[in-house]
Amino acid sequence: MGLAENLATYLEVAGTLFAIGTFGFLARRNAISMLMSIELMLNAVNLSIVAFGAFIPTLQTQGAVIALLVIATAAAEATVGLAIVIAIFRNRKTPLVDEYDAMRR
């Protein structure tokens, strides 16, 4: 059947995961939920990078290297994003993004 020996199945899983992350980012009200959705999307992209690295001969082992760099960048993004959320929470006393309306009033 070759489910695990086929590049397209990995890409399907990655695309589905990316779409779920997109929905969470667009739909959730909580700022930390939105950050978690961004992590899901980064994971989906990383999965597709590793799958390409495993299946495309010219990308052999380069996919794993690029994936490691992406993971490090995602860690930096999570650090700064959560720090910003905590700083905003300290000022506004709420984690819900639709109550951050200081620039609209």
């Binding site: 890409l11 399907e12 739909a27 299946f55 290297v65 490090a72 860690a75 720090a83």
Partner: protein, 200 residues
């Protein structure tokens, strides 16, 4: 009573994860790798859906850890063990703990009773479904010139490549991490002097 409910929920979750693996393994005659991939992919997708839909945010965080773990298993199936180890170390060990601490610092007691989704949830769902369809059409319709089986990303080769061709991105990432840590501490630690009458 509640313990029974939790047991039933655990049984249902285990069934949801095990069913595709059994189907692939028994009915369609897949290999052990196929069955494992089916189970892990199902676990990944189901826990990701739980992350974006559950009401209690601490449960969202725990479901996120499950999805990271399932993804690490998929990396192992893809024969990239160093990426799987890094996934466990960085995502489960560092980012999840960071997110759980942020949840602990920012949640109020009444938060679980409030609305979970914004008013734009339905357009967001439509956009997500369109993205999923486009990605799947592209993934299935393109000839990727892929090799017949997975090539193992041996750790020695990854290390030699990382420290020869990719040494400049490696150094840039280390500087970026330092800058992110310093900036994160600065932003999150900044104390504001209480001024009477100030709004923001």
């Amino acid at each position: 009573m509640r313990a029974w409910l939790y047991l039933i929920a655990a049984a249902i979750a285990g069934g949801i994860v095990a069913t595709p693996a059994i189907l692939v393994f028994v009915l369609f005659g897949g290999t052990f790798d196929d069955a494992l991939f089916a189970a892990l992919a199902t676990l990944l997708i189901v826990s990701a859906i739980a992350v974006v839909t559950m009401r209690d945010i601490i449960r969202c965080g725990l479901a996120m850890i499950v999805s990271f773990l399932a993804l690490a298993g998929i990396y192992v199936i893809l024969r990239a063990p160093i990426v799987a180890a890094t996934q466990v170390l960085v995502y489960i060990g560092a980012i999840s703990v960071l997110i759980l601490f942020a949840i602990m610092l920012t949640q109020e007691k009444v938060a679980p009773t409030k609305l979970v989704f914004q008013t734009q949830a339905v357009p967001g769902a439509v956009a997500a479904i369109i993205i999923a369809l486009l990605v799947s059409i592209t993934a299935l319709g393109t000839d990727w010139k892929a090799s017949a089986d997975r090539v193992r990303a041996a750790t020695e080769q990854v290390a030699s490549l990382l420290f020869s061709s990719y040494v400049l991105p490696f150094e840039v990432v280390s500087v970026l991490l330092l800058a992110a840590v310093v900036g994160g501490v600065f932003i999150a630690k900044k104390e504001r002097r209480p001024e009477p009458g100030s709004d923001i």
